[in-house]
């Protein structure tokens, strides 16, 4: 059995189904969640939400089919994982952030927390203004930075006292690590193709 399989669009739907069921049931009977795990899940929801905000920009800014395909994959997998993380938090009677309905809005004093690797306001503005190959380059380099942040968050989870001890979190974090690292490698290849030496 391997959760690092729960990757890709179809796979993430699985994750949602699974976490909506077995893992939630687990919490009803078993331990209370560790603060490190709760902080990881809450932070990762905001982190994933920014990836979706970036993908939304693809529609009228690129002509690259492979970038569209990449975007679709990221969009579906991150949405599904957000829903799964929200369910995990609610089942543990924790507040579950819900940033998706507010994407792209100016939140004034209620800005998203900046998790590792997240693009700054200036970076997001530059991405919005770019078109064509310039957009493709900014998107790929931005998403690589963003995904590397997820790897940092996973590393920090396991570097925190009491973090990642629950089987479900251990497996989910292992999954994010494998999934995003492979996606970074693919995006680097795409970026190299855009920037011939």
């Amino acid at each position: 059995m391997n959760m690092s399989l729960l990757r890709g669009p179809a796979a993430s739907r699985v994750l949602r189904a699974m976490v909506g069921t077995a893992l939630v049931a687990l919490s009803a009977s078993a331990q209370s969640a560790s603060p490190a795990d709760v902080a990881f899940m809450k932070g990762m929801i905001h982190h994933h939400a920014q990836a979706i905000e970036m993908v939304v920009l693809i529609a009228d800014r690129t002509t690259s089919a492979s970038l569209r395909t990449l975007g679709e994959r990221i969009d579906i997998s991150q949405r599904d994982e957000i829903e799964m993380m929200q369910q995990w938090l609610r089942a543990r009677r924790e507040e579950a952030p819900d940033p998706l309905p507010h994407l792209g809005m100016d939140m004034g004093d209620h800005d998203m927390p900046m998790m590792a690797g997240m693009l700054t306001k200036a970076q997001m503005a530059a991405l919005k203004d770019a078109r064509g190959p310039a957009f493709d380059r900014l998107f790929l380099s931005g998403m690589i930075q963003h995904h590397e942040g997820a790897l940092t968050m996973v590393r920090e989870l396991f570097a925190t006292t009491g973090g990642g001890q629950e089987t479900a979190i251990f497996r989910f974090a292992s999954d994010i690590d494998a999934d995003q690292r492979a996606e970074i490698a693919r995006m680097r290849t795409m970026l190299r193709a855009l920037n011939p030496p």
């Binding site: 729960l6 699985v14 687990l26 974090a173």
Partner: protein, 587 residues
């Protein structure tokens, strides 16, 4: 429902339609929904059962300590893999190991309950040693529960635990070999040149730990760190006379390409439009060794590979294959003659319902390849032919060859899809022979459960059920499998059986083997009906005699069968029968 979710739902529906139309246009036959297995009543210990051409001999339910009575699907108490030694069946669990005394197969007795959390708890046995896989960060060197709070700790254990089981009821830790990624599964390989040594191939699949906890561990990408702990397996050398000296002696880069790049195989993603999203090849999930042939088949996330293990300390990759229908290469089995290799695809990680009527029959299935030297050719797929519900986690999982002479038959666990016995002698046309299935653990919630692994061992099928326990089953004769074929399979016996270490099946000189071949010739019309009847009568007559009279009767039959072979419809099988009859003459 926010608009974003609606949009997503619409896209998911569109994807589903696309998948369905591809399946329809390819003429793929979907999973049956009219089969008795498709709609069984749910329950944990009282689920309805559908069974065909098998008999359920007994079930040993999960004992207290290996089960959460409040939650059948609790991850932290799942049963995992099996090993066999003497009268004992070793059953792993995410919370430890259970040893069952199977002297009375109708009534298994719990011999040993060893709490030792850390998942997956896969076990192997050799002599007085027991090996156990530990992968999670909650694993402790003292086998205690409660996990390890500190992020870097000398109390944490991830790797291979080695126990002395001289006193089977009180396993004692001899040594524990720590590895960077822990051990998801492992494979024992004896040294062909040194009977005093065994090697353990360690397959780690999860997060790499900190170098402050274990020196030189690195979870960085290969482009950033050439010494990354990813893209490798570890090999532990165990001197059997001094097992306490077991240690990692190699971490071979078995995914390297000709340019020496360690990430030399599939880098993850889709091959094209409509294909599966395939994992990156940075790990092996499982390796099945066939030491008598010096080969191993690695199911390595994004690829299936063949290793030359004639020097087990230094495996070399000699072939690799890819399948655009595979999400995750999970496990492998050789046919007895290694002319075929079967790989499983654990699409959805084993936690998802992947046998619904809407799921493609080539996704989450077995892919069967022919193997000749370094050449692997795709030949066909086998997937559980019946639809399962959305609350049943179901996909291809662990199985083993059933040693029926002259045929390639396998028994396999499909999680909550139950177990399926199938023939893949013709790799392009595999078909089901027998099955056993319980209804879902729950009708409205997916609780993890079902067959982790189903193996043939010494005449019976042993089913490690994740949330129920250990089932013992026997094959019963049917149109596609005769009583003689079942009896011949039961003649192959092993004192020790670690299913990831595949042994060559060799049949003793016994009339059941000859009769099995005759039954096959009749079923396949490989020999004329009158001749079939005459051969059967000749075997019966020889068995009624003894001594020299029996020998000469068999010798005469062997000679006449050799004459038949040239003109028979299935001359290879007639020759195999003639060989067996010749052995009976020489008894």
């Amino acid at each position: 429902m926010p608009p974003a979710v609606l949009r997503h739902a619409a896209r998911a529906a569109a994807c589903m339609l696309a998948v369905l139309s591809i399946a329809a246009s390819a003429g793929a036959q979907g999973a049956s929904t009219s089969d008795p297995r498709a709609a069984l009543a749910a329950g944990w210990k009282d689920a309805a059962i559908a069974i065909s051409n098998l008999k359920l001999v007994s079930t040993a339910w999960r004992p207290a300590g290996m089960s959460d009575p409040r939650n059948a699907g609790n991850f932290e108490f799942m049963n995992s893999d099996l090993a066999f030694a003497g009268p004992y069946v070793f059953q792993g669990n995410f919370n430890g190991v259970q040893v069952w005394d199977a002297s009375d197969v109708a009534n298994l007795k719990l011999k040993t309950l060893l709490p030792c959390p850390g998942g997956q708890g896969d076990v192997s046995v050799l002599g007085n040693l027991m090996f156990m896989s530990v992968e999670e960060t909650r694993g402790r060197v003292d086998c205690g529960s409660g996990g390890v709070r500190d992020s870097v700790s000398a109390e944490r254990f991830r790797g291979i635990r080695i126990f002395d089981i001289t006193d089977i009821e009180r396993p004692k830790v001899i040594t524990q070999v720590q590895t960077c990624r822990g051990s998801h599964t492992h494979t024992l390989i004896e040294d062909p040149k040194d009977k005093g040594v065994v090697y353990v191939y360690v397959q780690g699949t999860s997060i790499v730990r900190s170098p402050r906890e274990l020196a030189d561990c690195s979870g960085r990408a290969p482009e950033m760190d050439a010494n990354t702990s990813l893209f490798r397996i570890e090999i532990i050398r165990v001197p059997l006379a001094r097992p306490a000296e077991a240690r990692v002696i190699n971490a071979p880069r078995i995914f390297s390409d000709s340019a020496g790049r360690i990430a030399g195989l599939w880098r993850g993603g889709k091959q094209g439009e409509g294909t599966q999203e395939t994992a990156e090849t940075d790990q092996c999930h499982d390796i099945t060794a066939y030491p008598e042939l010096g080969l191993a088949a690695g199911a390595c996330s994004g690829n299936g590979i063949i290793l030359d293990i004639s020097d087990p300390a230094n495996p070399r990759r000699i072939a690799e294959t890819f399948d655009p229908n595979f999400a995750y290469w999970h496990s492998a089995n050789f046919s007895n003659d290694a002319s075929k290799v079967l790989f499983t695809d654990e699409w959805g990680g084993g936690m998802a319902p992947r046998c619904r009527a809407s799921d493609k029959m080539t996704w989450g299935a077995n892919a069967i390849f022919t193997l000749q030297g370094r050449s692997m050719r795709a030949a066909g797929y086998y997937k559980l032919p019946v639809a399962q519900t959305r609350t049943e986690n179901c996909v291809a999982h662990n199985g083993a060859i059933i040693p029926v002479p002259g045929r390639d038959i396998m028994v396999q666990g499909w999680y909550q899809g139950g177990i399926s016995v199938f023939d893949f002698t013709d790799p392009a046309k595999p078909f089901e022979i027998a099955y056993f299935d319980r209804g879902p653990v729950s009708a409205d919630t997916l609780h993890l459960g079902g067959s982790w692994s189903a193996y043939w061992h010494n005449g019976r099928i042993w089913n490690s059920e994740i949330s129920r326990g250990l089932d013992v089953l026997e094959l019963t004769p049917s149109e596609q499998l005769s009583a003689n074929e079942i009896a011949a399979a039961a003649l192959v016996r092993f004192e020790v059986n670690n299913p990831q270490t595949q042994r060559r099946n060799v049949w003793p000189a016994h009339p059941a083997v000859a009769r099995a071949y005759v039954d096959q010739l009749e079923r396949g019309r490989g020999l004329g009906a009158a001749r079939i009847a005459a051969v059967r009568a000749a075997i019966d007559a020889a068995e009624l005699r003894s001594g020299a009279a029996r020998q000469s009767a068999y010798a005469a039959l062997a000679a006449s069968l050799k004459d038949d072979a040239g003109s028979a419809g299935d001359s290879a099988r007639v020759r195999a029968l003639a060989d067996v009859v010749g052995q009976l003459a020489a008894r």
